[in-house]
């Protein structure tokens, strides 16, 4: 395959960036999207140009490190992470525009790499449960209803990649927030801190500069883990309940 790539190049956080065009030949359709970028970087290295910086880690679709806005879609045209996207999803001769996640709360570090530590600060503000240290407790000692456990497991698949923010026309992280609130709020272990958690996590979300949710739904469509929109309803319900009880 022969591709025309338009890639966002930005030297550092404060520099001005722009889209730069590269031609890449000999791309196999069996390559993953990141392997295609590896090939491009090898070529740039031999030509003496600075390689394109992009985030990646496990390349198995489970760590949440890869990102990339590919032709206007977070993680590209398939429902998966960029590392699990393959070049067979594209055609010979295609022009592919690759941009970083764009959100004020995700400042660009270099090229396609953004700083997503705003998510870490949201988690630190309440996305945890308090448990005694020591030996792990017996897993079945706290019974959880099956439907609630399944819902918690389903939304716990959120890997915090930030695709929801990238896809949202409002730049809101409500799907991420809703996934964490639902995950912990459905389980017995999450109950003691449930109401304080939602208030402080929403407060941190807003303080980070993410936008407000208007229920457009682009987030759920972009999510590689298919987190459904009803977690945002759960988030709103928990917040309403918490505020009513003075949390």
């Amino acid at each position: 395959m022969r591709l025309t790539l338009k890639i966002w190049r930005q030297a550092n956080a404060t520099a001005d960036g722009s889209l730069k065009t590269y031609e890449l030949d000999g791309v196999s359709e069996d390559m993953s999207f990141l392997e295609m970028l590896d090939v491009l970087n090898e070529k740039l290295n031999t030509e003496g140009e600075d390689p394109v910086a992009f985030d990646h880690d496990c390349r198995e679709g489970i760590c949440g490190m890869c990102s990339l806005m590919i032709n206007g879609e977070a993680h590209g045209p398939e429902v998966t992470t960029t590392c699990q996207l393959h070049m067979r999803s594209f055609n010979d001769g295609d022009t592919i525009t690759i941009e970083p996640w764009r959100a004020g709360a995700f400042p660009i570090v270099k090229d396609l790499i953004v700083d997503r530590s705003a998510f870490d600060r949201i988690i630190a503000s309440g996305g945890f449960i308090s448990a005694n240290t020591g030996s792990a407790p017996e897993a079945n000692s706290v019974p959880a209803p099956r439907d609630k456990a399944m819902r918690a497991f389903n939304v716990a698949t959120c890997i915090g990649c930030g695709a929801c923010v990238a896809a949202c026309p409002n730049g809101s992280a409500s799907l991420f927030l809703g996934a964490k609130i639902t995950h912990l709020g459905e389980l017995p272990q999450g109950q003691p801190e449930r109401w304080d958690r939602v208030v402080s996590m929403v407060g941190q979300h807003d303080a980070e500069g993410f936008g407000g949710c208007t229920n457009i739904g682009e987030c759920a469509g972009a999510c590689p883990k298919e987190i459904p929109l009803d977690v945002i309803s759960q988030l709103n319900k928990d917040l309403r309940t918490a505020l009513k009880h003075g949390h």
Binding site: K6, G104, N170, G212, C213, N215, I216, E218, D230, S233
Partner: protein, 211 residues
């Protein structure tokens, strides 16, 4: 946003129902208009209930517009650099036109109040103290009918997303089934209200409702 939106849904539903009295003729329509003012008498003064409704609506409007402006501002601040390429493949047209659609409805509202409530302008030069005559004279003018139909398209789109969005914001859509129901409710509310409102201008323009 959501709670004041629900106030408006209730209001436009009643307003639409009231307008349909035009199909029952001049006497019925004018009687309904007058009844809006005499309702609750003598416990409340003439026009009392109408003013209570107006005050609720004005307060709701201020809160609704203020909330919208806050969301709009936050949205702009959350993404200062736009994407060179951005696809919106998982969202409805109505969800992406809430802001400019809302502005359109607000401008229409000002026009509508100037025309029929505050100013009472009869473009045909007829009576303005006869609600039915004012209505018929107005909608026999094609460009006035067009303005109203455009406004109803904007209102229909706004209600289509707004109804489901309000349910979601209030936390009533915590399951896929509830979400589907809220989206269907959005369609029903949009079609019934925008469609119901459009009937009177259309039937007047085509000469079914006459003076």
């Amino acid at each position: 946003m959501a709670s004041t939106g629900l106030v408006f849904i209730a209001f436009v539903l009643l307003h639409m129902y009231g307008n349909l009295h035009a199909f029952a003729g001049e006497e019925n329509f004018n009687e309904y208009a007058e009844h809006l003012r005499t309702i609750g008498e003598p416990m409340v003064p003439y026009g009392g209930v109408l003013w209570i409704i107006r005050i609720v609506l004005i307060v709701s409007l201020v809160a609704h517009v203020w909330s919208a402006s806050q969301l709009w501002r936050r949205s702009n601040e959350a993404r200062r650099t736009r994407y060179a390429v951005k696809k919106n493949v998982h969202s409805s047209l109505s969800s992406r036109t809430m802001r400019w659609g809302g502005v359109t409805i607000l401008l229409f509202l000002i026009w509508h109040l100037l025309e029929f409530t505050i100013g009472k302008v009869n473009v045909a030069g007829g009576a303005t103290n006869n609600p039915y005559e004012l209505l018929v004279d107005s909608f026999q003018v094609w460009w006035l009918t067009i303005i109203y139909l455009v406004a109803m398209v904007a209102l229909g789109l706004h209600l289509h997303h707004g109804t489901w969005s309000a349910m979601q914001t209030l936390g009533f859509t915590g399951s896929p089934m509830a979400r589907r129901r809220a989206k269907i409710a959005g369609w029903v509310v949009a079609v019934v209200i925008a469609g119901g409102f459009s009937l009177v201008p259309l039937f007047t323009l085509f000469g079914v409702i006459t003076y």
